[in-house]
Subunit: 385 residues, 2 copies
């Protein structure tokens, strides 16, 4: 096991009806900015519950944070924070709203050019406004971690950054609030969480038995519950398990003391920035090809994955690994995801510009061994067509 | 899954050489009280590393905190805190030192009779001095939770209490620092952690798939690594896995959203208070009999435990459960634990006084269903002889 720090002070408030409890967590005299996305919270009752819970608070609202939140949009919220002297941010939504709110929290207190927050990968951040979360889309894990991803339209850039000041003070996880999600978002969320785990699990072994078994527990649960969530959209237990999986997949627990890959995510971010695909759509289409291209580096963990997750252990190693990758692809397909770049409408002709963008963003040594060069990404993209 | 709050702000600093990093976590102007136990830290190098890390701090020491720490002892440390205007406590040791330090932290700031802190089960605690931990004995999990157990000699009492102010600010977990532990303490620690998990896992099912699989991951790892820790006392990877298991077994993670039992622990505390046995010795001797007595209440989880942990699923349900309990007992025996009350030197004649003490401490409705009455404990004790 590698040396590690694990720190996660976010309080999870899990279960039906928990939005009512947020007032216990927000200082009584706080001026609160509610941030949200496209407005689904106004049709599914979440907005009304939040407003009721905040009775007596001075509340300002900022809606319209888009998927893959844009720097340009978020800067408008920063103005609003300054105008209204906001001192608490309540993000109501999924990963995009929460990520965007983390940027707003830091930019509102930052003296220099706010783009430096993102461009420095968060290293210039010294403090942020406190954030609370009401989660409506289990997927990104942003509700209980210190990371954010923000895009800048004018640069075709999508960049990940982090700061310990980004940990939300609390996150309400009410599975009922996910019933009204469209099936596409459930599929995206389950597959996003699944690949988050694989990025932290399919590397090289360091004898971290607890973390590996925690990862396997999340994977097995997503495999069982993902298709059920599509078939039984109002099954509370199924939605509960998925919601907790998504949080545990990216709260720092399963990556403590182990190597991490993230190359599929980094390449996926470029596909979103270039072509506007949903985040989960990019990584579902990329992962099988990435694993095929990197299978020698990941051999031992792939064999363990094949056995413990898919029950595959008989036969030649390469055949077992191929079968496990195919099972993974079939799971994504069962979640109604496209599992190749061609299904997304891309061809070999797109590969050069994807590689060019990776290089432009200095993504030239990816993966747990820092050996995933643009050339190896090119091979993976060809295997992903 | 049941509704839950999960909150754990302790920063884990894991790995070889991490004691050197504690100065980054303690305010530069703090007056630090180092608390410790019988003095083994002075022979195994831990004390020297801690002192070196605290160069430049004003440091006072309080040694001699005994296993099952006594109120009477801890009150002497409270005097020392007040005399020296201590504002940071650094617990260097295992569960007893950490638990005792949590009491010192609260009592030092408490206006009334300090016994009220314990007697109220912590509910009167409003604030505590900040605590840091250097862990030397992986077992109790106290290094990253908000619970403590303290005994009072004059009352033959051993009482558990808690407060959110008890979470240590940080906990250094350096597996190398466990190499010098005597085999008995390794055995005690592994079995204590294992039973912590079972108290949170062997109840009734609430479809909490993630928490159950996390629990199973800890159990499987302890079964693999426990005997190896005895056979290969300087195997870093083995000690790492055990150390992380013990922390994860009792940091609030696997009990989030599920019922919890703790009846074996409550009865075990009475055995320690009455006869002075090691904590782990009491629960290892009690658990097989407790599970036999409560097997109908725990049937579904016992069957899952039998299958997922011990690979037992063929045959009559009762036979499968009996076999799983026997496998558990054999694991404890392989860890060189005594697995019955008679091996501890107790007989049926002791049962009435154990029951009387449970009643005196109001332990009359134990277990996940609050239906473990003194009469059912009596049956369990008879099955544990």
């Amino acid at each position: 096991m590698l040396n590690f720090d694990f720190y996660n002070p976010t309080k999870l408030m899990f279960g039906q009806g928990r939005i009512a409890d947020i007032a216990y967590e927000i200082p009584r005299n706080a001026r609160v900015l509610i941030t949200y996305g496209g407005g689904s919270i106004k049709s599914n009752g979440v907005y009304d519950e939040v407003k009721a819970a905040l009775t007596g608070y001075e509340v300002v609202e900022f809606g319209g944070i888009e998927p893959n939140p844009l720097y340009e949009t978020l800067m408008k919220a920063v103005e609003l924070v300054k105008t209204h002297k906001i001192d608490f941010l309540l993000a109501v939504g999924g990963g995009s709203v929460i990520d965007g709110t983390k940027f707003i929290a830091a930019a509102s207190l930052y003296d220099g050019d706010p783009w430096e927050i993102i461009f420095s990968r968060g290293t210039v951040v010294k403090e942020s406004l406190p954030i609370g979360v009401v989660l409506t889309l289990p997927a990104a894990g942003s509700e209980s971690n210190h990371r954010a991803v923000v895009s800048r339209k004018s640069m075709n850039a999508k960049i990940s950054f982090y700061s310990n000041s980004f940990f939300p003070r609390f996150a309400v996880l009410d599975p009922v609030k996910t019933y009204s999600l469209p099936p596409t978002q459930i599929s995206n969320g389950v597959v996003d969480a699944y690949i988050h785990v694989l990025e932290q699990y399919l590397t090289y072994p360091v004898n971290a038995k607890v973390q590996e078994r925690f990862s396997e527990g999340i994977l097995l649960t997503l495999i069982e519950e993902g298709p059920r969530a599509l078939a039984e959209p109002m099954n509370y237990e199924v939605r509960s398990n998925i919601m907790l999986c998504a949080t545990m997949a990216l709260n720092g627990l399963i990556c403590a003391g182990v190597p991490a890959d993230w190359s599929t995510h980094m390449v996926g971010h470029e596909l979103t920035a270039l072509y506007g695909f949903d985040h989960a759509a990019t990584i579902a289409a990329l992962l099988p090809g990435m694993l095929k291209a990197l299978k020698d580096d990941k051999r031992l963990q792939l064999l363990q994955y094949a056995e413990r997750i898919w029950g595959l252990k008989e036969g030649e190693e390469d055949a077992v690994i191929e079968a496990a990758i195919e099972k993974t692809r079939e799971f994504f397909a069962a979640m109604h995801m496209k599992t190749s770049l061609s299904e997304l409408g891309l061809t070999a002709d797109n590969i050069p510009e994807i590689i060019a963008h990776l290089k432009a963003h200095d993504m030239v040594r990816l993966g747990e061994r820092k050996n995933v060069t643009p050339e190896r990404v090119r091979q993976a993209l060809e295997l992903s067509l």
